[in-house]
Symmetry: C2
């Protein structure tokens, strides 16, 4: 990652850097990132989403206090990615799995701790910018990222810019419908794409396939709580019929829906990331096959399906790209 | 339309005007349109899509020759809307129902006849611009137009600009999937939205409902070829059960899919136009009900469903808006 980023056309001399914060439901990562995408300094701590927001801010302050002592560290701006964050309000809006209130003024709170221009967007949008600046989407102007983790996060880039929509809430592709009376989603709707195409989704699919009679599988020994995405990948690679079927089903649904997304946006590529993307061809082959079969003719054979090159340690590259984009545009 | 447009903030003094051409499968409309959206002059002729392209150009030339004699007519630019037209290539690309070749260099051909800056886009995109400049979408920056005619055409406006995608082919919402093994679409795919949500789609739905046993309907007297959208509307208004069911089914499918479109784009509104939109509340009530029930919570209660105020005579306003937009941006 860092190696390929070294040749980025966005590279400039000097030691400009930005502060980047990736706030996750479990871990928060803070990094200092150069214009060419090198992570110069990094800290990780437990977010404490169920504890008080003040505890989170205390931990941020400790990192900031330590770094501010070093006179060589002078970031130009701060980029923040967080779940359910709105670039318009600067707040996390009703984040599920957080106990910090309904509207958390994250941008202002962080800006106060280190007086820098601060930019906030949701984690999936930040990831899309990271791919465009430092990842597999470098050079692309029209693409969609799909992050297949606990849920399905998505970010849309059109004409080289994040598509934000009228309320900063565009790109909720995890909540398009697959089956009108399908699986119950945490959002309250039924049949949302993320209930099928995510780590959680494929775990549900395995349980469903076992329920339908597929007990001739190593996966029948796992409870839902025990079952991890990697367990299913390993089983599939060893020829387990239920595991293979689960990937085929997941890839088929995702491929069909990606064709619908293409019919909206005419992208050059999709970028798949998140835990489930580690399954590689087990997932990509059915995605490509079913997407292609369902694409409107204008797009057929023309849309790449890529996987991220990031490791999860590099999650700060997304918020870093957000800060760089604002700086490139004149710091507005 | 012209009345409301008079108060447009885009209004300027002077007598600036543009030449606008709406090329349809049946009729071609040419107009001279002021900055405030007044149609100052208009001509209509049969396109002759099955005859030679040269015949079409001869007809255009006759209109141009007549208008060019009038020294008061000095358009600033030419806007053209046509089926399957690409703003990137300046051509109509493989238009079905036309016998003019695979790639028709419409922009260059027309530019040669009247030496003006000429801009081309597909008819659905032009319609979206027309709504933004002169229609019900004035003041909106994020909206989607759905034109329900023989097929379903769509145009997406995001941040006040047409979303074109990487190949100028964004906004093919008519070809997102409703049922994987659904109705055969002319595009070669199965189950496309336009096979359900269009004038053609509702005619197919009526035939299906009659086939399923609904012969207690005035519509059972009509052949598929005879059946028009207005016939179904009239029957529904008089309480015909099949006609009412057909609108309910059409509106339900469209509403569900509009919720998916909203999850991509976070728009302020949808603008419904085309023959089927004349059914008014017969169609709008089920659309609104089913869209709302399926919307992700961030959008619920926040997306307007509007119908166009245009008459079909005003179809030149779309291509006129295209020309004005380019002029506003400095004629690029």
């Amino acid at each position: 990652m860092a190696g390929s980023a070294k040749n980025s056309p966005r590279d400039t001399p000097g030691d400009d850097k930005v502060l980047a914060i990736d706030l996750g439901g479990t871990l928060t990562k803070i990094g200092l990132v150069s214009r060419k995408g090198s992570v110069l300094k990094a800290e990780v701590f437990k977010t404490g989403a169920m504890g008080p927001f003040e505890d989170f801010m205390d931990q941020v302050e400790q990192v900031f206090a330590k770094w501010q002592k070093d006179p060589g560290i002078k970031p130009l701006a701060m980029g923040i990615g967080a779940p359910n964050a709105s670039s318009l309000t600067g707040c996390m809006e009703n984040p599920p799995n957080f106990n910090w209130g309904n509207s958390i003024p994250l941008r202002e709170a962080l800006k106060e701790k280190w007086d820098l221009p601060a930019y906030l967007t949701n984690d999936a949008n930040a990831a899309a910018l990271g791919e465009m600046y430092f990842g597999v989407a470098r050079g692309l102007e029209h693409f969609v990222t799909l992050t297949l983790g606990t849920g399905l996060g998505s970010g849309i880039v059109s004409h080289g810019k994040l598509l934000t929509g009228s309320r900063g809430m565009a790109g909720e592709i995890g909540h398009i419908n697959v089956f009108p009376e399908g699986r119950q989603c945490k959002c309250g709707l039924k049949g949302c794409l993320e209930t099928y195409a995510s780590v959680t989704g494929i775990r549900r699919t395995v349980m469903e396939l076992i329920a339908e009679g597929g007990t001739d599988s190593v996966l029948s020994a796992y409870s839902y709580d025990e079952l991890e995405g990697l367990t299913i990948s390993h089983a599939a690679l060893q020829g387990d019929p239920i595991a293979i079927k689960a990937f085929e089903f997941t890839g088929k649904i995702l491929g069909l829906k990606m064709a619908d997304t293409a019919a909206h946006l005419d992208p050059e590529a999709f970028v798949i990331s998140g835990g489930l993307s580690q399954a590689g061809d087990l997932l990509l082959n059915p995605i490509r096959k079913h997407m292609e079969a369902r694409l409107f003719r204008a797009y057929r054979g023309k849309i790449a399906v890529l996987t991220t090159e990031y490791s999860s340690e590099e999650a700060v590259l997304g918020p870093a790209a957000l800060a760089w984009q604002h700086l490139d545009e004149g710091g507005v």
